[in-house]
């Protein structure tokens, strides 16, 4: 080990060798008195409870109803393989505190990248100006958040040298080339992120979290008869270096080679409306785009969502139950607490066909007078939190995959996607299909690729006429963008049939 480190603050992102970071930082806050874990975080960010209270008082000095501080130290690493060699790496360190003040549903926000009393008090003063009144007193008591510890780490990324990542990228490269002689190019990368989060608010809540996140991805390019096709594969989780295994890499290689091969056989369907069968797993993009965003409560309290007047109304068939879950162990979308200090939960958004809950942040929960659902998320300390999804999926339905496919005369079966989008007010949503098949007379026939599918959220939800008993969560690297902020999410679905969507294609 070249660099044994005793320092709290990780200086470099890319780790030369194993480095020593104080292990107790791995713990999240527990207990009632200020625990050892919390003290480490306070030390890490070089602040005291007294200073936190002083900053909050300044933030509330103009009559805000509520204020919070979000401390973050994030270390990002990226290593990339090209032409068979891992010859590029990059790293980034982000450090700072975001200060938010709420006055009713109004928000004042500022952040500083220098955590000194002066800089924090100045930012607090800026955020405070959303209100225009006299200051309020705050509680003297500090309550520590009890963490559920959803993503235990065996080997931290800080203790993992770049040397230990390289073999997995090389193996992925070799396996892909070995599986098919049409492969002419492979790119592979690993990105890992470690975040130290400390949260404190005007209610005296103090919460700390150690958030790991990793993805590995690979792209294969094949050439055949003058034609070039490519496909990509990616896996992600909130785990430490134990995430990287030969088995994972081998499985990815097989997956991407099969996907690329399929592209050579694929054509385009005929343009128009047809039945669409969504495969189990990453077809959960349907939920994310068709309804997930429109269920985010900021759009609903502002009445700009097409679902604004649908709470407690029937929106889907009885057999449909949809959840947005922030509590799945080691899931990319999970959080021990959300980015405004609320516990996460498994929120049922559609229960037996009835719209049962929106996805709330603190502002919208107060507006609707409900308990927050733990959906307040932000990209980093530089952004104010807004309602966001976590892991959005549908529970099992009553049908069999085979009977669902067999029920289609003329439609498409889709099972691989790259991206989607939604227009919240109009309800139109889309997802881009990287691979699928035509369904003709109940059977999968010609492969299809590179087509967009568009539908309308409430209509598509009502049009889910069959749902399989094979619910599956996708383990890909899904990142959701909203209001200029990206957050990691996951999604899942059993096989379902949508009665009618508009499928991109060609006209005779």
């Amino acid at each position: 080990m070249l660099y044994k480190r005793r320092d709290f603050i990780k200086i470099s992102g890319i780790t030369a060798a194993g480095s020593l970071i104080v292990p107790s930082l791995l713990q999240s806050c527990k207990g009632t008195a200020l625990s050892g874990g919390v003290s480490k975080y306070l030390e890490h960010f070089e602040v005291t409870p007294e200073l936190l209270k002083k900053v909050i008082l300044t933030a509330m000095s103009k009559g805000g109803d509520y204020a919070d501080l979000y401390f973050e130290h994030t270390i990002n690493n990226y290593s990339n393989l090209e032409d068979g060699k891992v010859n590029q790496a990059s790293s980034n360190i982000a450090y700072g505190v975001g200060i938010r003040v709420l006055k009713g549903d109004q928000t004042g926000y500022a952040f500083t990248e220098i955590i000194t009393p002066e800089a924090m008090l100045k930012a607090a003063g800026t955020a405070a100006s959303i209100a225009n009144d006299t200051g309020k007193s705050i509680t003297e008591n500090i309550t520590e958040f009890t963490s559920p510890n959803l993503y235990p780490v065996v080997t931290t990324w800080e203790d993992t040298s770049i040397r230990e990542k390289i073999p997995f990228l090389e193996r992925l490269n070799e396996k892909i080339f070995a599986l098919d002689n049409k492969v002419t190019k492979v790119n592979a990368s690993i990105g890992d992120t470690t975040s130290y989060i400390m949260f404190y608010n005007s209610e005296g809540l103090l919460a700390c979290d150690y958030r790991p996140l990793v993805y590995i991805s690979g792209t294969s390019v094949m050439e055949k008869d003058g034609r070039t096709e490519n496909a990509s594969v990616s896996r992600s989780a909130r785990k430490g270096a134990e995430f990287l295994t030969n088995e994972l890499v081998d499985n990815m290689a097989q997956d991407v080679v099969a996907k690329t091969n399929l592209q050579f056989l694929a054509g385009k369907p005929k343009a128009g409306e047809m039945e669409v069968v969504m495969s189990a797993g990453e077809s959960g993009i349907l939920l994310h785009e068709a309804i997930g965003h429109a269920f985010e409560a900021d759009f609903n309290r502002k009445k700009t969502s097409i679902f604004s007047d649908k709470l407690n109304k029937k929106v889907a068939e009885d057999f449909i139950t949809i959840v947005d879950d922030g509590t799945l162990p080691s899931d990319r979308g999970s959080l021990n607490f959300d980015d405004e200090g609320n516990a996460t939960e498994n929120t049922v958004i559609v229960r037996n066909g009835i719209l049962s809950s929106y996805l709330h942040d603190r502002i919208s929960a107060a507006y609707y007078n409900v308990k927050p659902t733990g959906n307040g998320r932000r990209q980093s300390f530089r952004f104010m939190p807004v309602p966001r999804m976590r892991s959005t999926r549908m529970e099992n339905g009553p049908h069999k995959k085979e009977e669902i496919i067999a029920s289609v005369r003329n439609g498409v079966y889709v099972d691989n996607f790259s991206n989607g989008q939604v227009n919240i007010g109009a309800g139109d949503f889309t997802f881009f299909v990287k691979a699928g098949y035509l369904i003709e007379n109940g059977k999968l026939t010609m492969p299809i690729k590179d087509i967009n599918i568009i539908g309308n959220g409430p209509q598509a939800l009502a049009d889910i006429v069959m749902a399989g008993d094979d619910a599956k969560l996708a383990d890909g690297t899904w990142t959701c963008g909203k209001a200029g902020q990206s957050v990691p999410v996951t999604l899942g679905l059993p096989t379902v049939k949508v009665r009618k969507l508009v499928v991109g294609g060609v006209n005779a």
Binding site: L2, Y3, I11, S12, G13, I14, T15, A16, S79, K85, V86, N87, Q88, A89, S90, S91, N92, I93, G96, Q106, G108, A110, T126, S129, S161, I162, I166, T184, N187, V221, T228, N230, K270, A271, G272, E273, E289, K303, T304, S308, M384, Q421, V422, G425, A426, G427, D428, F429, T430, F432, K449, D450, N452, I453, I454, V502, G504, G505, V506, N507
Partner: protein, 438 residues
């Protein structure tokens, strides 16, 4: 930090990296400040201020390369940051193509003034900003009973970069930006249509401040009651604001990286016809007051004015130093500056009026393009046009095709560019586009 302090820091970092084992280094120090105010339904919805700094260092160590950045600007920490990054870089594989650019290609500081910084940003107070947003909001608030919600947004930014390399480049770049926008949601029998309008400029006094709210309302109301129409091949009129959505796959395919990764349907097509003769695109970095203008690119290379496509013939790719060396091509700048499309004679209204039957597209919704093959498919919204009249809004439709073919069908370019945008592209008419609908 003032500019001189940034230069000093960059030089200190370079010296330290060279002493610690790097053979070449480039350092950039970026700073940005921004503020944002949103007024929603009469109240200030949010006030936000941002102040960011970062130091980025590209290290070339024994033919190995890494790029590293941090926002912790403490000098002692930066020294250790450099040392640890160099040590880690040594574990990578060698890459003979990683080398700083040829100093002969660096910008020499002899460019004309580009007028990118509005000094008034330093003295603008919160009250002025709030009033600007409020005026946009008040143009429309309560002006129509169908309105559900009105938001008006003011934002400004000041960003600067100092770039220094160990083989002789040193330069600075800065710009300001101002934006005013409005978005309006309306109640309708089907859905809650919304739309927005914005104006932007590098200089506050050059920005159009009136009509933003009105335009957002007008665009929202005209979207009420959309219907999809039958699938088929139709002429497609693209509004200038959204043309860039369809052009971006073309630009992606022009990059050295895409060519090298075999994800470019334009690879090897230099001097070939790739679009209709009506397409001429110049990349022009020297337009005063234009947001894409710059004297040098992210590597320090002097930005060149160049033809990208001339009368449909591909003339230049975007090649940076690294992929240039890998591909055996001369570097041309790895990114675009201002995209200047040759204009036609008529405005958008005239183009609509002469359309017999077609779809006028005002928005895209998702979709993607396969870089290797050029196959694309996008969701759209817009209007059905018949005999020169807008008949009704359309939504929930896709367009699908291939990039190598669709641009051959460009039949007219308008004369309407958007002031204040780096994409100086007019509305365009394309024939024979595959639409999917009912």
């Amino acid at each position: 930090m003032n500019t001189q302090e940034k230069y000093n820091l960059a030089k200190t970092v370079i010296d330290h990296a060279l002493k610690s084992g790097a053979q070449q280094v480039s350092v950039s120090i970026d700073e940005s400040r921004s503020s944002e105010i949103e007024i929603r339904d009469q109240k200030i919805d949010k006030l936000a201020e941002s102040n960011r700094n970062s130091l980025s260092i590209n290290l070339y160590v024994d033919k190995k390369y890494s790029s590293n950045s941090t926002n912790r600007m403490n000098k002692e920490e930066i020294r250790r940051f450099v040392e640890e990054s160099i040590n880690a870089t040594r574990y990578l594989a060698e890459d003979e193509y990683r080398i700083l650019p040829d100093p002969a290609l660096y910008y020499k500081g002899d460019g004309e003034e580009l007028n990118m910084i509005d000094k008034t940003i330093e003295t603008l107070d919160a009250g002025t900003k709030i009033n600007l947003a409020r005026a946009v909001h008040d143009e429309v608030f309560n002006k129509d009973e169908r309105i559900i919600s009105v938001s008006a947004n003011y934002s400004d930014s000041l960003s600067s970069r100092v770039l220094v390399t160990s083989n002789g480049f040193s330069g600075e770049f800065g710009r300001t930006g101002f934006n005013l926008s409005a978005s309006v949601s309306a109640k309708a029998d089907t859905g809650r249509p919304s739309d927005y309008w914005y104006e932007s400029s590098l200089f506050l006094d050059r920005m159009k401040k009136e009509g933003i709210g009105k335009k957002a309302l007008e665009r929202t109301l005209r979207k009420i009651g959309p219907r999809k129409i039958s699938s088929g091949k139709y002429p497609m009129l693209l509004e200038n604001r959204v043309v860039v959505n369809l052009l971006s796959p073309l630009f992606n395919a022009l990059s050295g990286n895409a060519i090298y990764q075999k994800q470019s349907f334009l690879a090897g097509k230099k001097d070939q016809q790739v679009a209709s003769k009506l397409m001429t695109i110049i990349d022009d970095p020297n337009i005063p007051f234009a947001p894409g203008s710059r004297h040098f690119d992210s590597e320090g290379l002097a930005f060149m004015k160049k033809a990208i496509i001339e009368e449909g013939v591909l003339r230049n790719f975007y090649i940076d130093t690294y992929y240039g060396r890998k591909l055996g091509m001369a570097p041309t700048n790895g990114s675009s500056s201002n995209i200047v499309f040759r204009l036609g004679d008529r405005d958008l209204d005239a183009m609509v009026k002469s359309l017999k039957k077609g779809i006028f597209i005002t928005g895209f919704n998702g979709g993607n393009c396969n870089g290797s093959t050029g196959d694309f498919s996008y969701g759209i919204e817009g209007y059905l046009v018949e005999n020169g009249e807008i008949i009704h809004p359309v939504n929930e439709m896709n367009i699908t095709g291939n990039m190598t073919k669709i641009w051959m069908n460009l039949t007219e370019a308008g004369n309407d560019i958007i002031e204040g945008s780096a994409a100086r592209i007019p509305s365009l008419l394309l024939d024979q586009v595959d639409f999917s609908g009912i």
